[in-house]
């Protein structure tokens, strides 16, 4: 809305008011001028600039006290003018500069800040900023002429004073901004005139004089009260590094013109003020700045506002990029700050920080800056030296910080890491530090105690679902990794950081050197072994570039061949007997102890066995825990290595699969879980679809080792475990491959039936349960008939009774030989149908080759028969278990089963009649299984060989146990009674025994229903009756009612005779409770 566009018009309008101001210096007049000025166009104002400014300047210059209000309005007016125009005259610029600054100083004490209102100060500072902005072109450089130095100094000191001591934050910030403008580093969005090097040099020269003052002031502000607000601190930091960055810039300092002095020689007084930036001056200043910098950084880094920390990052960036030569001694500190801030909580700071880190490291890489590397490696050295101490004393948060620093240094060093670590001192320090930090806490007893429930136990728990134990193994689920517990820190993130450190080392470092070094440590002492293994594992991950976060790519990645060679040697070391077969539990120690005792002559060839001897003497929970962890770490490592090599690892499966599987079968839960994880890792890395495929494809490796180890089982007591695991993870397609091994197992059983039968039977158990799982027996036909029995019992109608009696009549006639009215065709038609297949299968004379699993089951059964009468109860139990499984497998192949049963019979009868109660119980189980498959075959044998003996014993013992006291339950005869009673019922049911036998059993068990018998015997007797009830409910009902009958039965029709049961109307007696209980449950 400019009205006066031409200078002439404007002059006319402005002239009166200007004149008025010269005469009459009032606020009103000035404000009037300002409002008039608003009507003047920019171009016109530029023309009239000097003219308009004159009265204002004049009024400022007139001596005497002036009203503050007036001065303020004048300054504002000047501000208004110069912000719209530009100053083209050097002299004018300098004059205005000094005149404005004079407004701030107290008239009495020149150089001190006047006690004036904040508004005035604000106006002046704003005026100054505007003035500096409006300077045309390089005119502004005139301010930095040596003759302006006093004025400059004066302004700067005033501004510093304001920035430091003013209460108003706005004013403080403004003053700081003004300082920024002064050093030509304004951060406002306006475009600025850019200056060539000479110009900057001039500014730099002039500010060299003020450097101490400014930096000191700024440092004071930064380290001042936190309450001053982040903006002030941020600007203070900015001023600090801009000033330092200007004065100490590499190119400024290096290009120092020594002829400057000559230039100002004539003005001797001023020359004293000019500072010549000679090397010694630079050195001195740098050392002083270093002190300030440290103070500043420690304050700012701990500032709670993230913008302050962000500004700090900028500071580091600026100084590192522009002053890295002059501020050599501070580089270390700056890097420390930078690296420390990488782990900042604010993502903004983090990202900027890593950006800066990247730039800086490029700077250090590109320029081949030797100083940088030196500083970094020195820092690294100091840090690693201090680390162990820090780790012991600090809290987790501070540990995180120092480790973050370490990681940062390594990342910054980049591929120089390998150069730095070529120095033994460095490597030694670093490795010692890592060894100390990574020390595991081995005090937890649980780890040693927790046991892996092996498949045997699982099967026992779920006898009805044999598949449940298997199916979960085939899925991909990896058991969760157990957290490692460390001695010196708790938080997981510390460990993650340590992992990163190791990986970065592996990424950049010389793999062979590092692995060799840590392998040395590994071999050196048990104390370092676990840590060294952890480090080696991570090193390789890093070397392969997996899960490693770095600033820049390395030049040459490690070749696959190198990786392969390294991995091969490491695996060899890990799986060597001394490092792999460690004592992890008391039992296994006992086991190995056995080995030593027996084949003594072998020990001369095997030193490892001697080490067992030594270790067993001082076996503590801690050592075992430590051993467990060592194995776990090594297992984890193998999993890592597989991922490092991917499919290339397939060849290494030859040496690694067997040891890993061996550990899958370990008793200690943790080891077994970890091994399973490793197995899944192997599977994924080598590109197999399932564990099953992994094992099947590599079974030749496994089978080879197994068969070799079986030949000397005493030295390889863990072999059976491998076989068990192999069976449990695989399926029937494995069978042809392991057929060979099975023969080996049986052979070694024949060789070592004394010492190793236990172990081998564990294997046989897993083999047979695998077979039973792979070849499930067809459902026996008998079971289907049962529901019918029950159905007819539930609701008896008159018709059904009629049917029953008619049928009964018919049968009776038939039995008496009266067969005339029977449909012969029908019965004849039925029978051949059932018989035919039997006959035809019996017929072939040439013996067919049996399926492998049948042959195996037969072979195993053969051994079982031999070992049924072994001395050890434990073994006999195992044998019986295996026997049961054999029977299951053979069930569908009666032709093979029956001859075996025939041979088995007499030892089994022995077990059933005169052995440990536990064995009897187990033998009964076997008998029941046998009854499943070959009931007819056994029926007469059981009733002839077993029932008489058993019942005789039970009958004779019944009075004894009735009278017995509480101690009786500890006697052998009690246990025997219990076992027999527990087995009898099931047997009767399975064999479908005849009436007489059932009667015998029932009458034998009746005395045990007495409430005077021990409770457990009562229960067992009840169970017998339950089973009897399944076979012949009516007879059972009758027998029970004969003992005690709670009800009275009235005949439904008067023509029928009244029912008389012996138990009717009896007094309550010792049998009442149990009989009632049974009858109730039968209902």
């Amino acid at each position: 809305m400019a009205i006066f566009d031409t200078p002439k018009e404007a002059f006319g309008a402005l002239r009166p008011i200007c004149v008025r101001i010269t005469k009459e210096q009032t606020v009103n007049n000035v404000q009037c001028l300002q409002s008039q000025l608003q009507k003047v166009g920019d171009a016109a104002l530029q023309e009239l600039q000097e003219y308009v400014l004159f009265p204002l300047r004049f009024s400022l210059k007139t001596p005497g006290l002036k009203q503050e209000r007036f001065v303020q309005s004048v300054v504002e007016c000047i501000h208004f003018i110069i912000s719209r125009t530009c100053v083209r005259n050097q002299q004018q610029l300098c004059d205005l500069f000094s005149e404005l600054s004079l407004c701030l100083s107290s008239p009495s004490n020149h150089g001190k800040l006047a006690i004036i209102s904040e508004e005035l100060k604000m106006a002046v500072v704003q005026g100054l900023i505007a003035l500096l902005h409006s300077a045309y072109g390089d005119i502004v450089l005139s301010l930095y002429q040596p003759d302006m130095l006093p004025t400059q100094g004066f302004v700067i000191s005033l501004l510093l004073d304001i920035a430091e001591h003013e209460k108003s934050r706005q004013l403080q910030v403004l003053a700081l901004k003004c300082l920024l403008v002064l050093i030509l580093q304004c951060d406002c969005p306006d475009t600025h005139c850019s200056f060539d090097n000479n110009g900057l040099l001039q500014v730099g020269n002039s500010f060299a004089s003020f450097l101490p003052g400014i930096t000191l002031g700024m440092t004071r502000i930064i380290s001042g009260d936190v309450k001053q607000g982040h903006l002030v601190t941020t600007y203070a930091i900015k001023v600090w590094y801009k000033v330092v960055g200007l004065v100490m810039a590499n190119d400024q300092v290096s290009k120092n013109h020594h002829d400057k002095k000559m230039l100002f020689a004539e003005e001797s007084k001023l020359t004293e003020l000019v500072i010549c930036r000679k090397p010694e001056w630079v050195k001195n200043t740098a050392s002083k700045l270093d002190v300030l910098l440290q103070k500043l950084c420690s304050c700012a880094a701990g500032n709670s506002h993230w913008k302050v920390r962000l500004e700090l990052v900028e500071l580091v960036y600026d100084l590192l990029s522009y002053c890295n030569k002059s501020l050599k001694q501070s580089i270390g500190h700056l890097l420390e700050v930078l690296v420390g801030l990488v782990g900042d909580e604010r993502p903004e700071v983090q990202t900027r920080c890593s950006q800066v880190l990247k730039n800086v490291s490029e700077l250090c890489v590109m320029c081949e800056n030797k100083d940088f590397t030196d500083v970094l490696s020195e820092n690294l050295h100091t840090l690693t030296t201090a680390l162990p101490r820090l780790m012991r004393t600090l809290d987790d948060q501070s540990k995180l910080k120092s480790l973050g620093l370490l990681l940062g240094y390594l990342k910054l060093l980049g591929h120089k890491v390998s150069v730095v670590l070529n120095s033994t001192v460095h490597l030694g320090r670093l490795s010692k530090a890592l060894m100390q930090i990574l020390e595991l806490d081995v005090t937890d007893v649980r780890i040693v105690e927790e046991r892996h429930l092996n498949s045997e136990a699982e099967d026992l728990q779920h006898p009805t679902h044999p598949s449940s134990g298997w199916d979960h193994l085939k899925t991909w689920s990896k058991p969760a990794a157990q957290r490692k517990y460390f001695k010196f820190f708790i938080e997981e993130c510390v460990f993650i950081l340590l992992q990163q450190i190791c990986r970065v080392l592996g990424y950049y470092g010389n793999l062979y050197l590092l692995v060799d070094h840590f392998m040395d440590l590994y071999q050196q002492s048990v104390v370092y072994r676990k840590q060294a293994a952890i480090v080696i594992n991570e090193l390789l991950l890093g070397a392969a570039g997996l899960d490693v976060d770095v600033l820049h790519e390395r030049e040459t990645p490690v070749s696959t061949n190198d990786l392969k060679a390294t991995v091969t040697s490491i695996i060899e070391e890990y799986t060597s007997t001394a490092n792999w077969h460690l004592v992890t539990s008391i039992e296994s120690e006992y086991e190995t102890g056995l080995n030593i005792n027996q084949p003594k002559f072998l020990d001369f060839t095997r030193e490892s066995h001697k080490s067992y001897l030594y270790s067993s003497q001082s076996l503590t929970v801690h050592t075992m825990n430590s051993n467990i962890w060592q194995i776990c770490v090594q297992l984890e490592g193998i999993g890592y290595f597989a991922h490092v090599l991917n499919k290339e690892f397939r060849l290494l499966l030859m040496v690694s699969l067997y040891p890993v599987i061996e550990k899958v079968g370990a008793e200690t839960l943790l080891v077994s879980q970890m091994a399973t994880r490793t197995l899944v890792d192997l599977c994924q890395a080598c590109g197999y679809d399932s564990l099953q495929e992994l094992i099947n494809q590599n079974s030749d490796y496994l089978v080879n080792t197994i068969s070799l180890n079986l030949r000397s089982l005493t030295q390889h007591p863990h072999t059976p475990r491998v076989i068990s695991v192999m069976f449990s993870y695989s399926d029937a397609s494995l069978l042809p491959l392991v057929d060979d091994v099975v023969q080996d197992i049986l052979l070694s059983l024949d060789h070592y039936y004394n010492e190793k039968a236990q172990l081998i039977f564990t294997v046989l158990h897993s083999l047979m349960s695998a077979l039973a799982h792979w070849f499930p027996p067809k459902d026996p036909v008998q079971k289907k008939e049962k529901p019918q029995d029950k159905a007819c019992r539930s609701g008896v109608t008159a018709e059904e009774i009629q049917c029953f009696f008619q049928e009964y009549q018919k049968q009776k006639h038939l039995a008496e030989g009266d067969i005339k009215d029977i449909d012969l065709d029908k019965t004849e038609g039925d029978i051949p149908d059932q018989l035919e297949p039997d006959i035809s299968s019996d017929h072939p004379i040439v013996k067919k080759e049996l399926p492998a699993h049948i042959q195996i089951a037969k072979d195993v059964m053969e051994r079982c028969i031999h070992l049924l009468s072994d001395k050890s109860v434990k073994l006999r139990l195992k044998v019986l278990d295996v026997l049961e499984l054999c029977v299951v497998v053979l069930q569908c192949n009666v032709n093979e089963l029956l001859p075996m049963v025939h041979r088995l019979w007499s030892p089994l009868v022995q077990k059933l009649t005169s052995d440990d109660p536990l064995v009897i119980l187990r033998a009964f189980k076997v008998l029941c299984k046998l009854a499943d498959g070959s009931g007819d075959f056994l029926r007469s044998r059981v009733s002839k060989d077993i029932l008489p003996k058993v019942t005789r014993y039970l009958v004779s013992q019944a009075p004894v146990s009735t009278k017995a006291g509480p101690i009786y339950s500890h006697t052998l005869s009690y246990k025997l009674q219990l076992a027999e009673l527990q087995g009898l019922g099931k047997l009767c049911e399975k064999l479908d025994l005849g009436e007489t036998d059932l009667d015998m059993v029932a009458s034998t068990c009746l005395p045990y229903l007495s409430s005077r018998q021990p409770l457990k015997l009562q229960d067992a007797a009840c169970s017998v009756f339950y089973h009897l009830n399944e076979v012949d409910p009516d007879a059972t009902w009758l027998i029970l009612n004969e003992v005690y009958c709670p009800d009275v039965y009235n005949p439904p029709h008067s023509s029928l005779p009244a029912i008389q049961l012996t138990g009717m109307g009896k007094q309550r007696n010792e049998f009442t409770d149990n009989v009632l209980r049974l009858l109730q449950e039968f209902e």
């Binding site: 072998l602 060839t605 080879n704 070799l708 060979d740 023969q743």
Partner: protein, 286 residues
């Protein structure tokens, strides 16, 4: 105290039949793992196989005249020129064929009154001194004979066993051979300047029956395959027994040494009736 015998380095399984003969094939010396192949054939024919570049295809099928226990013996005369010695159509007769042309070169018949029985094993070899190949034949009656095929003449005969000879091997450097039979004795014999076979030494074993014998290429040790399931190793110079290698669970049919360039990767293989081939690393330290 005797050292425990080593375990086999590896066991190859899955042949599905008993292993009758083995041969290492290490022609592609560098970087190629030794290939081992085994063969069975009772169909009175010899097959030639193409094994280059990992192929395994039968190229040719040469019918033979006799059914017997005797294995043929192959010798390379010049490059691409192979001679094959095989038992002939009549008793005691030996035929030498040109493998490429498949035509008999020489037919060797012993004098009618010799009563040698069937030829049991053959060894065609090239003496160092002259260019003509010589043939060693072990006969059913327990004698070893030396033939000069080009003159169709039996040069020498040595009755060194009482039972049929099962195997023989010959070392042209030391001009010395070894033979095993179905009895317990292993005999070594030499050849003097007049081409006469002379018995040098006999070793009596614990169990009878040697199915195969093989002298290692470096002429330091020899191995025998025993019917007693064991492989025995002897020093070649003095026939000093060095080791008994128990592994197989059935009689061992054949032994063979590899001639891999890398000494430490040289193996001995033994094939057995139990359908396995065991690989052993023996006396490989320089």
């Amino acid at each position: 105290m005797a050292l425990r015998p080593p375990d086999p380095k590896f066991v190859l399984r899955g042949t599905g039949a008993s292993v009758n003969t083995l041969h290492f094939c290490c022609r592609d010396q560098e970087g190629c793992d030794p290939i081992l192949f085994s063969g069975q054939g009772r169909d009175a024919a010899v097959c030639t196989w193409d094994l280059s570049e990992g192929r395994n295809a039968v190229i040719d099928y040469i019918p033979l005249d006799s059914y017997g226990f005797c294995q043929c013996s192959l010798m390379q005369k010049d490059v691409g020129h192979y001679l094959l010695a095989s038992p002939g159509s009549t008793l005691s007769e030996v035929k030498i064929l040109d493998l490429l042309k498949k035509t008999p070169v020489w037919i060797l018949k012993p004098p009618a009154d010799a009563k040698l029985g069937m030829p049991m094993c053959l060894k065609l070899w090239q003496p160092l001194s002259c260019s003509r190949p010589l043939l060693l034949v072990g006969y059913e009656d327990g004698s070893v004979t030396l033939w000069d095929p080009s003159e169709k003449k039996m040069l020498s005969r040595l009755a060194c066993h009482n039972e049929p000879i099962m195997c023989l091997d010959f070392d042209p450097e030391k001009v010395k051979g070894i033979s095993g039979s179905s009895e317990k004795v292993l005999s070594s014999w030499g050849l003097d300047e007049q081409q006469n076979l002379k018995l040098q030494k006999t070793v009596t074993l614990v169990n009878a029956g040697i199915a195969d014998t093989c002298i290692r290429q470096d002429k330091k040790i020899l191995a025998t395959a025993g019917w007693d399931h064991q492989v025995r190793v002897f020093g070649w110079k003095k026939l000093k027994p060095l080791a008994i290698l128990p592994y197989h669970t059935a009689s061992v049919h054949c032994v063979s040494f590899s001639d891999h360039v890398v000494l430490s990767e040289r193996f001995m293989a033994a094939g057995s009736k139990d359908q396995r081939i065991s690989l052993w690393s023996l006396y490989n330290e320089p």
